[in-house]
């Protein structure tokens, strides 16, 4: 077997880290747009009007069954065609990251809508009734009473969704995006395939570290937010 060089792992990590911002940008973009989408979907399901709810249900069910790589390819090959034939816009030369953002916005939106919806529904409706009974408008009751409490409940699930997004996002290199994974495959081909294992291990270490970072940060956030609450076991 060809030699395994553990030191190469450290070397390669420093070659990969400069591309971390690409990964982060991709994640933050997807979180932002995905959360907006998720809010719209969650609202459709909660409000209960038939057609919006049906559309939201179908969308979420469909995306739940879609492997990320499949969606990525559909967007990558399909979006330019679609835009070309409907509104005549040629996006074939646009930065690959757009396709990645679209894909993961669609995916994250589906996950987030469920996170938001279950968090909102877990808050005792009595809170809302009390708010209405002292004269708050439904809008005020939502933003001042229901939403803050929902956020606290949603936080752990949001953290999980974020980690999953980051892991799914690692597939972006398959459409040619040069993020950390993309750079990794370039490094491997530069070395004629000889240090593949070391490179992959380096990438795994980076991703693992990021996951732990996110988990710890959310742990701190959750503790901070429960300053006024008793734990579940009361």
């Amino acid at each position: 077997m060809r030699p395994f060089n553990p030191w190469f792992i450290l070397e390669v990590i420093s070659d990969l880290l400069p591309y971390l911002p690409v990964t982060i940008f991709m994640i933050l973009g997807s979180v932002f747009f995905g959360s907006l989408l998720g809010f719209v979907l969650a609202r459709a399901k909660v409000m209960g009007r038939r057609i919006p709810k049906l559309l939201a249900d179908c969308y979420i069910a469909t995306l739940r069954c879609t492997p990320p790589i499949v969606l990525l390819f559909i967007v990558y090959y399909g979006l330019p065609e679609l835009l070309m034939s409907t509104i005549g816009v040629n996006i074939n030369n646009v930065n690959k990251i757009i396709f990645v953002l679209v894909t993961f916005t669609l995916l994250f939106g589906a996950t987030m809508s469920e996170v938001m919806r279950t968090a909102y529904e877990s808050i005792d409706k009595g809170q809302q009734e009390a708010a209405l009974s002292i004269g708050l408008s439904p809008y005020q009751a939502f933003y001042r009473i229901m939403l803050p409490q929902s956020v606290a409940v949603a936080l752990p699930n949001f953290g999980n969704a974020l980690i999953n997004l980051m892991k799914d996002g690692s597939l972006a290199f398959t459409v040619g995006l040069i993020d950390m994974m993309g750079q990794g495959t370039l490094i491997i081909s530069r070395n004629f395939g000889s240090y593949a294992l070391e490179t992959y291990i380096a990438l795994a270490i980076i991703y693992w570290s990021l996951t732990i970072l996110i988990e710890k940060s959310f742990g701190v956030l959750e503790m901070h937010l429960s300053k006024g609450k008793k734990s579940v076991a009361e």
């Binding site: 077997m1 060809r2 069910a61 469909t62 739940r64 069954c65 879609t66 492997p67 990320p68 790589i69 499949v70 969606l71 390819f73 559909i74 090959y77 399909g78 065609e81 679609l82 070309m84 034939s85 409907t86 980690i163 980051m166 892991k167 799914d168 690692s170 597939l171 994974m181 593949a196 294992l197 992959y200 291990i201 990438l203 795994a204 991703y207 693992w208 996951t211 732990i212």
Partner: protein, 237 residues
Amino acid sequence: MELNLDYLIKTFFLAITGIPTTLEITIVALLVATPISFFMAIYKIYNVKIIKQIITAYVSVIRGTPIVLQILIVYSLLPSLFNMAVKSMGWNWDVFSMNPIIYAYIVFSLNTIAGLSEVFRSALLTVNTGQLEAAHAIGMTTVQAYTRIVIPQALVVAMPNICNLTVNLIKGTSLAFMMTVKEITSIAKIEASFGYNYIESYIDIFLIYIIVCSITQLLFSLVEKHFRSYKSITKAS
């Protein structure tokens, strides 16, 4: 946007032949993982220190890294590793002609073990310790208590999570094509490269996964209903 309908339909039926492979990987992973995960869950709860740390580290690494990396690592490590092992034992066997699905079994089993152990652990935690105490009090052994009382109750709670995990596993197998496994995605991709009908191929793959996952979810909800039947009867009014 023009879709080649003929091609769409033809490739659809061609890609369907990949479903058995997908299901094979899924089922093997689940079968292998279930007993192992179950014991991992129990060990974690019973607090045997060293084992607990190893298990925690294992779960953390597997769940903290993208599955595509796990696939790439296994695929770049194992073949040469096996080759070395085979050569050193003097066997005359060409490792590289082995069916790549074995690697898929390995990767997805390792992955499922980690995820499933978390599902089992949290499900077991939701069962009141009083149940176990009551079982002991009427003379059951611990094994009996677990198999007759604790596990059935934990299973009900675990079902939705197991369903989720299975659906994610099925979606995960879509990456097995990277190991040259002939499952749904790879078959359609290969077809696509003949005539550059990428969009139609991926739409086919998309539809097939929706069908497979929906059926899976349906089956799980039926199983869940069956397990649930003991729960609501006691609602007094």
